[in-house]
């Protein structure tokens, strides 16, 4: 098993009195609440933390993209990756991921990522995602075609990476008569592709296709739900004629390690509460835009039939999550000894949401 250090880069100096005036710290919280001097301090602190994560032994570092939010100061994760590229030497850097449907031209993503992979000598891992509803509201991109744009842009990027001759790409949203991306990625035919998701049959089936075999990464789900989605991925792969191994599967979960369960629960509680209740929360009409609402009707049915698969309800306060949290902490206990406590103890001391929770 490989362990990666996922930094969300939250804006920690959120004034609780200001935050309390808004139903979310996404989109509606005015950017006047952001102090660039504090931002300067935080960016440099977070880059230090990511570099330290490599030093203490994590196999990889994880970045992601979100817009108009104090949840994460990383609207452009490729820039953060660039800042880390020459300050790290060993760790993989996984960008999970670029929100491809938001970009006017996907070839810019193909070029940026290929440059990063060249600079880092093949340490790059690429994720492609669609983002949440807020992204489509603040960018004015129509979410009803985001699914089409996601698939088409991903196809264009991968083809552009694999090609060694100019070719024409004739898509509905992207029509490029002469694709000839320089530089080519360092890793051939292209960097590994991971697909992070909160669980949708459609995505699992797409990622597990025999011609994709993209690593499937279940995010923020309890162990029991995670296992079910992983089983689904294995089934789809088997039906497609290949065998999914642990190398094809990942689980993104908040992890905390301490000397005893009791200490871990006590110490982690304010941070995980801050994560879910202060930073993560969004009202449903801004979390899921219309296209996603419709695509999720089958998912909603599945959730009704199997409560284990329900995603976290952002409107519920943290206490309702104790079961899921306990499962995550079971996970933390098992990770601890394997990592000999070193890396994750650092993560604990530097728990990124501590300040906000205090």
């Amino acid at each position: 098993m490989k362990c990666f250090f996922f930094h969300l880069m939250p804006y920690l100096y959120l004034d609780p009195a200001v935050r309390a005036q808004y139903d979310s710290c996404w989109m509606v919280l005015p950017n006047g609440a952001y102090d660039p001097r504090k931002g300067h301090e935080l960016y440099n602190r977070y880059l230090d933390e990511l570099e330290l994560a490599e030093e203490v032994g994590f196999d990889g570092l994880v970045l992601n993209e979100h817009h108009a939010t104090a949840y994460g100061m990383m609207p452009a994760p490729n820039l953060i990756c660039a800042a880390l590229a020459r300050r790290t030497r060993r760790a993989k850097i996984a960008i999970l991921g670029n929100i491809t449907p938001l970009r006017e031209h996907p070839l810019m993503i193909a070029e940026e990522l290929a440059m990063l992979d060249n600079i880092m000598g093949g340490r790059l891992i690429c994720g492609f995602v669609r983002g949440i509803g807020v992204e489509y509201l603040v960018w004015g991109v129509n979410p009803t075609s985001s699914h089409e744009r996601f698939h088409e842009s991903q196809e264009l990027i991968v083809r552009a990476w694999k090609a060694t001759e100019p070719f024409a790409f004739e898509g509905k949203h992207y029509h490029v008569p002469w694709v000839n991306v320089w530089p080519r990625p360092y890793q051939q035919p292209h960097p590994p592709i991971w697909i992070p998701t909160n669980g949708s049959t459609e995505t699992v089936e797409w990622a597990a296709r025999a011609d994709h075999r993209y690593r499937y990464l279940q995010n923020l789900s309890a162990a029991v739900a995670c296992k079910k989605y992983i089983d689904l991925y294995r089934d789809v792969a088997a039906r497609a004629g290949w065998e999914a191994t642990p190398a094809n599967l990942g689980w993104g979960c908040p992890t905390y390690v301490a000397e005893t369960d009791e200490i871990a629960y006590r110490e982690m509680k304010p941070h995980i509460e801050s994560f879910f209740n202060v930073f993560f929360r969004n009202p449903p009409h801004r979390f899921l835009p219309p296209r996603i609402h419709l695509a999720r009707i089958d998912v909603a049915d599945r959730h009704r039939q199997d409560p284990d698969l329900r995603p976290p309800d952002h409107r519920q306060p943290h206490e309702a999550r104790s079961r899921a949290l306990r499962q995550r902490q079971d996970r933390a206990r098992t990770i601890g000894p394997q990592r000999e406590g070193v890396g994750v103890r650092h993560a604990r001391r530097r728990a990124p949401f501590r300040h906000a929770a205090a």
Binding site: M27, Y136, L137, G140, V141, N142, P143, T144, S145, P283, H285, R286, P289, P290, R291, H293, L294, I297
Partner: protein, 261 residues
């Protein structure tokens, strides 16, 4: 109040629910974001003097969502097919909000098919510096409340229990609205420059407290449409068919009777 009957027809591969009632000159009413059924009370009043047709747009309500539905222009071309298929002569059009926008897109494409046009709180253009109501950023029930001058009317409607089928239709409608009106929000930047092609009489009817498209939009339409007149409904928001149905019906009928021949 005349009876309105419903039937399903198929045009260009799309099953469409059509409500029709009354006798007289034909008038096609193009509904807004709330779909066809909420407009049937108004349609019954109009049917006292007119042959009223209320199709539910492709993608809305009981109509199917065809794969070709992607832009407002698709709906405009669909209605050109609709007029052909039903062998309708040039007809009167009335359109509310999104439906007004569709009517304008039809009219610039084939002005000869539009005998007259009544625009009710219509979408379709943008006036710089005059923000529209945010349709997607706020919770749907908050948006709905803001569409009335008297928000207690909205509150009473929202308090009624909603059957699951109606909830599904709401999601379907919201999806169709997003397809055609998410961006640019509720307008086509290329429409205004062709509005001069509409040579038939246009009657602009607007609620004085429309918070979706403020009254400045009515004045801008008045300026862009040379053969237009404006009627302002007092103490009325964006939903005159629900807030002032009788006044709206009378206003539409009067407009048709007084139009220049």
């Amino acid at each position: 109040m005349s009876d309105v009957c419903s039937s399903d027809i198929e045009i260009h591969g799309a099953k469409v629910r059509l409500h029709r009632g009354g006798r007289g000159e034909p008038l096609v009413y193009l509904h807004g974001e709330d779909g066809g059924p909420p407009a049937l009370g108004l349609a019954g009043m109009l049917a006292e003097q007119l042959d009223v047709w209320v199709p539910e747009h492709p993608g809305f309500g009981a109509s199917a969502t065809p794969p070709w539905l992607e832009t407002i222009h698709d709906l405009a071309y669909f209605y050109l097919d609709f007029l052909d298929a039903l062998r309708l002569p040039p007809v009167h059009f009335a359109g509310h909000s999104l439906g007004g926008w569709i009517a304008l897109e039809i009219a610039v494409r084939n002005p000869g098919l539009v005998k007259s046009l009544t625009l009710i709180g219509s979408a379709g253009i943008h006036v710089n510096g005059v923000p529209k109501g945010d349709f997607f950023m706020r919770p749907p029930e908050v948006v709905f409340g803001s569409l009335f001058a008297d928000e207690s009317i909205a509150a009473a409607m929202l308090a009624r229990p909603i059957p699951p089928e109606a909830e599904d239709i709401r999601i379907t409608n919201r999806h169709a609205i997003a397809r055609v009106a998410w961006h640019p929000p509720f307008f086509d930047p290329h429409l205004a420059k062709w509005l001069h092609r509409i040579t038939g009489p246009v009657h602009i009817v607007w609620g004085d407290t429309d918070r979706m498209f403020p009254i400045a939009y009515a004045h801008e339409f008045r300026r862009l449409l040379p053969h237009s007149r404006l009627t302002v409904l007092s103490r009325c928001g964006h939903m005159p068919h629900l807030e002032r149905p009788r006044e709206l019906a009378d206003s539409i009928a009067t407009g048709l009777a007084e139009r220049p021949q």
